[in-house]
Symmetry: C2
Subunit: 659 residues, 2 copies
C-alpha cells in the first residue's frame, strides 16, 4: 500500500500515511485535534478542512455545496487520503459560517445613511444665555424659550411639570450655558407637530459626546436591552435578563391572572421595571454612561407585557373576546412608569396588532423587511408566545399561540439564557460508534458549561431523537446501554446527562429530563400548529413559502436541520430559512433611531390581519398531531425520515476510525 | 310750641311731637329702634329715613346726595320735625347701598352671552358603542376613538396614561354607553390645536346635569374657591379658608425661606393642596357634588403661591434679581399636584407678570376691565401683598409691596376672615356723646361676634383715630376715660375692647391691641407707598386717576371713607372708588368659563410693565411717611383733616338728643 505525504498548514512537518487513511486520522497523527462532535459520522460538518493541493476521496459530501467541493473543502472524518496533499484547517468559526444549515445572527449594523439631524427625533441644542439681572427679570422658562427660538429656531417647545421643578437649578448650575435635549414629534410627512423639552444638561455638551437612548424588548421570559448612541446610531452595549415577572407565572395567561388580584398589577409593573432598570445599570456600567443621561427609549413587547409595563389592567386580553385596552400607545415619560433614565425621557412603546400579536411582532416584521418584499414570507417568532406572520408587500396575516418559555431556557431544569456558559449546540455519537450516546457540546464563550440555552435544547433534542435516545413520543429509552450510566433515572424521572459535574461550572451534572422534553415538545408543537393553521387558513401551502424567517431569543446560532428534526420548523429546503435572532429588539432599535421606522411599524401593525386561534378548533387538532417527533405525519418530514433510516457508513477495510 | 303728627309707615298710629324734635327721637317714641352706631353724630348715615310727605329741617346732609335730598332722604339723628310728616324707614340693607361711601361687592353674575358650546373648553360627549366580540376585537381605546370621530367629529383626541389605566373598567362599567369629558385646546383664532380626553363617566350624562369646574385663588393668607357649573356658568358654592401654609410663615418671603430647606418645598406644596382639597370637599358637600366629577380647575395666585402649589422651587423669587422659574404655566393635570378632583382634570394656572406680580393681578386686571377702558385707572389689590396696577387700554404699569396679612384678619389678635361672626364695620361714639368711646358694630350673619375681619379692622382703626382713641402715630391713649375700662392695658400692652365677653360668641373680650394697630399701619403704609411711588414714577398725579378700583379678600362691604381716614386709600372723591372684592377669584372664574378670557389674561400679563420696588429707594421713604394716620403729610388728606376738626353740632335748645 502506497504511503502519502500530508502537509497541514499549522504544522511544519508533513506526516506520512498509507492510502485510505481518513484525513481526521492523519490530522491526529500530525498532532492536530479536530472537533468531531458527531463521533465521525459525517453528520455535524465540524471537521471540515480545505485541501489546497492534491486530491482526497470524499465518502460523503453532506453539508458541502458544489462550490465548496470545487474549492477543496472536505469532511475530514469522511475523506480518505489517496495521494500527497496539502491541507488548511480553517478557524472553527469560519467553518461554522460555511455550514449552510447553520445560520448566525448578523451583527447589528447602523442603518445605512442614518443621519441623526434628519432621522433622530431627539436633538441636542446648546444654549448660551445671559443671566437675569434687575434690568431683565425675564422668568427662567421664557429665557430658555427665547434662546431656543434665537439659537435653534424652535418656537413651540413645551415643558413638563417635572422639568419645571428642576430647571431653575439646572440653568444656574450650568451658569446659563447648558445643553437642551429636545424631542421633535412629527408626522410621516416630515412636519413637526410638537417640540418637547426632554431635559437640560447643565453644561455644554459637544457633538462628539454620545447621546444615549435605549431599545428594549420585553419578552414574557426574556427582557433585552440595547444601549445606543443616538449621535452615531451605534449599539454600544447589549444586555438581557429573565423578566422578573417569571416568579409570578411563566406565560402571559398566568401573569394576567396574577395581575388581576389586588396589588398584582402594581407588583407586575414594578417587577418588569425592576428588570429593565437593572439592565440599564448593567449596560451603562459597561460603557461608563450615566442612566440619567439616557433621553429616549423605544420599547417593543407583546401586548400583555406592554400593558403590565404601563400598569394598564390586562385581564380583558385573557377573556373572550380577547381585547386589549390599547394597541397604539401614546408617548409617555420615564418618570410615569419609574424607569431610572432621565425622568423626562420620552418612552415610545411601539404599536401592536391585537391581544396576542403585539408590538414585538410589528417591530419584528419591520426588522425582517418582509412587509417590503414580493417574496411570500413566513416569519416565526419563537418565544414564550409563538407568533406567525405570513405575507409579503401585498398582504400580511398573523396569529399567535402559547408555546411556553422552554426555548428561552426557562421551565427546563438546566435551561438558561443564551449567554456565556450556555451549551448552544450538542452532538451525540451514534449507537454503533465507539462512544455510543456520548455527547459533545459547544458552550458560548468557550467556558465550562452552566446550563443549556434554547438553541442547545433544540440541538440536544434532535440528536437524542436521531440517535434513538428518545423515541418519537419523546420518551427517553432507559434500556439503552451508555457509558457511565449517562441515560438514567433521576429525581424527575428518566434523564440524559449532557455534562458531568466534573465538566460543569457549578460542579453538578447538567441533564435533560423527560419533563423538560415534554415542555419542549409542547412548545414546538404549538409553534408548528400555529403556522400550519395560518398557512392553511389563507390557502398558501408551505412549499410556496419563498423565505422562512425565524426570530427569537436564541443564541447567535441556530441549526435549522435540527429544528426540522424535532418538528419545530417545516421540512422545506434549508436555503429558504434565515435565522434572525431577536427581531423585536432590532425593530425597537430601528424605531429608536428613526421616527420614520416608528411610523412604518405603526403602518405594519394596522395592515396585519389578525386570526384568533382561540376560536379555531383546527389549531388544537394541529397541535395534538405535532406533539410527536418530528410529527404524527412523518411524510411531511422527508429529510428527517431519510436521516432516521440512514445508517453510518460501514468502515472499509484498511480505513482507520476517527475517534 | 306747635305739635306735629309724625306717621311712620311701619306703625299704625302716628305720634305727636313738638316742633324741633329729632326724627330719631320721634321714631323712638313710636316704638321704632333706629340703628345709630356713631352715637347720633351724623357720621355713620345708618339712621337714614325717607320723608314721603311734609318737610324736615336737615341740620346735616353728610352722605346724602342732592338726589337723595330731593327724594326726601334725611338722617334721623340730624333732622328736626317742623310740621306733620310721613316717614318711611327703608330696610337696613337698602340704606347701606345708598351710602355713597359704602361699596358692596356685586353678586357673581354669569358673563353675558356665556354659551358653553362656544366658550367652554370642557365638553361632554355621550358615546354609545357596540361591545367588542370575536368579529370585532378592536382595542378599547380605538373603539372610543372611533366613537369620538363618528359621534362627535373629534379626530385627534389624546389620552393620558392614568386614564388608560382605568378606561377598560369604565367602559365596561357603563356597558359601553358612557360620557366622555373632552378638553379642546385652541388658539385665540378659534382653531382647535389639541383635543384631550379628560375622563370617562361610566353612564350617559344628560345635558341638564351640572358639569363641574372650580375657580381657585391662592392668596398668601386666604385661599378662595368657587364651585361652578360649567354647563350654565353659575357659581354654585363659594368657600374660603386660610392657606395652610400660614403655619410656616405669614408672608411670601418667609414661605420661600421655609420652602428652601430640605423637605420644605414638599411640605408647602402639600399644605396648600390640603387647603384646596378641604375647600373642594366643603363646596361639594354644600351642593351634593362629587369631587371626582370636577373636570377643570382655573387657578390664580401670586407667583410664589403658584410655584409652591406646583412644587417648583421659589427661592429665586426672593433673591436679586428676583426672577420666577415660569410665569406662563403649561396646563397640567390634577393628579400631578394631588388635587382630589378627577385625576385627569386639566389645571390651568393663569399667567403672571413677574416675581411679585402674579396671576392674581393679571386675572384681577381682567376682571376689572381696566385693560379695556379709556379711563385712567388705578387698581389696588389689598392683600398680604399689595399690588398696584395703573393704566388704561393704552398702557399698564404695575408694582408690588409686602403688606402682611393684617387686612385679611391674620397677624391680628382677634382677626378673622370675612365670614359669619366677623365684625365687619365698627362705629365709636364721640368723646362728647352720652356714651363716650362706646362702639357699635355690625357682624356678618347678624350673629354674636367671633372676631374682626379686614373691613372691620379698617373701620375700627378709622373710628379710633377720628374719636381720638389712637393718636396719629397709632398709639392708644390710655388716659382716656371710658365706660367699664374699655381702653385698658392688656396682656399685649394697650388695647381697646370692641366687644365684651358677654357679647361675643366665644365668651371672651374681643380687643384690638397696639401691636395689631402697628401691623395694620404697616400694611396700609406699604400699599399707599406702593401706588404713590408707581403713580409718581410714571408721572400720573393721583388726582388724574379717573377710577380707583380696590380688590381684596375683605367682606362684602368696605367703607371708603374710613379707608381714607387711616391713609390706606388716597383722599380723592369717593365716587371714583369702586370696591370689587376678590378680583383674582373673579378672574379665575372667567378663565374657567372661557378660553378667550384665559387668552386675554395672558395678553394682559404680557402687556404689563413691571416696576421692581425692591430696587427703588423712593419706596422706603414713601413707606416711612405713610406710617402715620392718615399720613405724615395731612395736606394730602383734606377730608380727613376736616373730619378731625369737625366737632359734633351743639344741641339747639328744645331739641332732644338721640341716644
Amino acid at each position: 500500500m502506497a504511503a502519502h505525504l500530508v502537509k497541514f498548514d499549522a504544522v511544519a512537518q508533513p506526516v506520512t500515511v498509507p492510502t485510505g487513511t481518513l484525513l481526521s486520522e492523519a490530522a491526529r497523527l500530525a498532532g492536530i485535534e479536530l472537533g468531531q462532535p458527531c463521533g465521525g459520522q459525517g453528520r455535524c460538518g465540524r471537521c471540515t478542512v480545505q485541501v489546497t493541493s492534491g486530491a482526497v476521496r470524499r465518502r460523503s459530501t453532506l453539508r458541502l455545496s458544489d462550490e465548496d467541493i470545487a474549492n477543496g473543502f472536505a469532511l475530514a472524518c469522511q475523506s480518505v487520503v489517496e495521494g500527497d496533499i496539502a491541507v488548511t484547517i480553517p478557524p472553527q468559526e469560519k467553518i461554522e459560517r460555511r455550514l449552510t444549515t447553520d445560520r448566525t445572527v448578523a451583527d447589528v449594523e447602523v442603518p445605512v445613511g442614518y443621519d441623526p439631524s434628519l432621522h433622530q427625533s431627539i436633538r441636542r441644542v446648546v444654549l448660551r444665555m445671559e443671566p437675569p439681572d434687575l434690568d431683565d427679570q425675564t422668568d427662567d422658562w421664557s429665557r430658555v424659550q427665547t434662546a431656543l427660538r434665537q439659537q435653534a429656531g424652535l418656537t413651540q417647545v413645551s415643558i413638563s411639570l417635572s422639568l419645571l421643578r428642576r430647571i431653575s437649578d439646572l440653568l444656574r448650575q450650568g451658569d446659563w450655558q447648558v445643553t437642551a435635549i429636545i424631542e421633535l414629534i412629527g408626522n410621516p410627512f416630515g412636519q413637526i407637530l410638537q417640540e418637547r423639552l426632554v431635559g437640560i444638561i447643565p453644561r455644554i455638551v459637544f457633538d462628539d459626546e454620545p447621546l444615549w437612548g435605549i431599545a428594549v424588548d420585553i419578552g414574557t421570559t426574556t427582557v433585552t436591552l440595547w444601549l445606543v448612541d443616538l449621535a452615531t446610531g451605534e449599539v454600544k452595549a447589549q444586555t438581557a435578563e429573565y423578566n422578573g415577572q417569571i416568579a409570578r407565572g411563566e406565560d402571559v395567561i398566568s401573569r394576567i391572572i396574577y395581575s388581576s388580584q389586588p396589588g398584582g398589577l402594581e407588583e407586575m409593573q414594578s417587577r418588569v421595571v425592576g428588570t429593565i432598570n437593572s439592565l440599564i445599570e448593567l449596560a451603562c456600567k459597561r460603557v461608563n454612561a450615566v442612566p440619567q443621561e439616557i433621553f429616549k427609549a423605544c420599547i417593543a413587547g407583546n401586548s400583555t407585557m406592554i400593558h403590565l409595563l404601563l400598569g394598564i389592567p390586562a385581564q380583558h386580553i385573557r377573556l373572550a373576546p380577547f381585547v386589549t385596552t390599547i394597541n397604539d400607545i401614546p408617548s409617555i415619560t420615564a418618570a410615569e412608569i419609574g424607569l431610572v433614565i432621565h425622568p423626562g425621557a420620552i418612552i415610545d412603546c411601539l404599536p401592536g396588532v391585537a391581544s396576542y400579536v403585539g408590538a414585538d411582532i410589528s417591530a419584528g416584521v419591520y426588522s425582517t423587511g418582509m412587509d417590503d418584499t414580493d417574496k411570500i414570507t413566513l416569519f416565526l417568532d419563537v418565544g414564550t408566545n409563538g407568533e406567525t406572520v405570513l405575507g409579503s408587500r401585498e398582504w400580511l396575516v398573523t396569529c399567535a399561540c402559547s408555546a411556553g418559555p422552554a426555548f428561552e431556557g426557562a421551565g427546563v431544569v438546566h435551561g438558561m439564557r443564551a449567554t456565556r456558559g450556555a451549551i448552544e449546540e450538542v452532538w451525540i455519537a451514534s449507537p454503533n460508534s465507539q462512544r455510543p450516546y456520548e455527547p459533545t457540546y459547544r458552550v458560548i464563550g468557550g467556558v465550562k458549561p452552566h446550563g443549556i440555552c434554547g438553541s442547545g435544547l433544540i440541538s440536544l433534542l434532535a440528536e437524542m431523537f436521531i440517535t434513538g435516545v428518545v423515541d418519537k413520543a419523546g420518551n427517553i429509552d432507559l434500556t439503552l446501554q451508555s457509558q457511565n450510566n449517562r441515560i438514567r433515572t433521576g429525581e424527575h424521572g428518566a434523564e440524559y446527562v449532557v455534562a458531568w459535574g466534573s465538566e460543569s461550572e457549578q460542579g453538578n451534572d447538567i441533564v435533560i429530563t423527560n419533563v423538560d422534553i415534554d415542555n419542549l415538545k409542547r412548545a414546538k408543537a404549538a409553534i408548528y400548529a400555529g403556522f400550519t393553521v395560518l398557512a392553511e387558513g389563507v390557502g398558501v401551502p408551505l412549499e410556496l413559502v419563498e423565505q422562512l424567517l425565524i426570530g427569537g431569543s436564541f443564541g447567535k446560532y441556530i441549526n435549522v436541520e435540527k429544528a426540522i428534526q424535532i418538528g419545530l420548523l417545516p421540512d422545506i429546503p434549508w436555503e429558504r430559512f434565515q435565522f434572525l435572532g431577536n427581531t423585536s429588539i432590532r425593530g425597537a432599535y430601528y424605531g429608536l433611531l428613526q421616527q420614520a421606522a416608528r411610523d412604518k411599524i405603526r403602518d405594519i401593525a394596522s395592515r396585519m390581519t389578525y386570526i384568533e386561534l382561540s376560536a379555531d378548533n383546527s389549531f388544537y387538532e394541529a397541535f395534538t398531531s405535532a406533539l410527536f417527533l418530528p410529527h404524527t405525519n412523518l411524510e411531511s418530514f422527508p429529510t428527517v425520515a431519510a436521516a432516521l433510516e440512514k445508517q453510518p457508513l460501514p468502515l472499509l477495510s484498511g480505513e482507520s476510525t476517527c475517534t
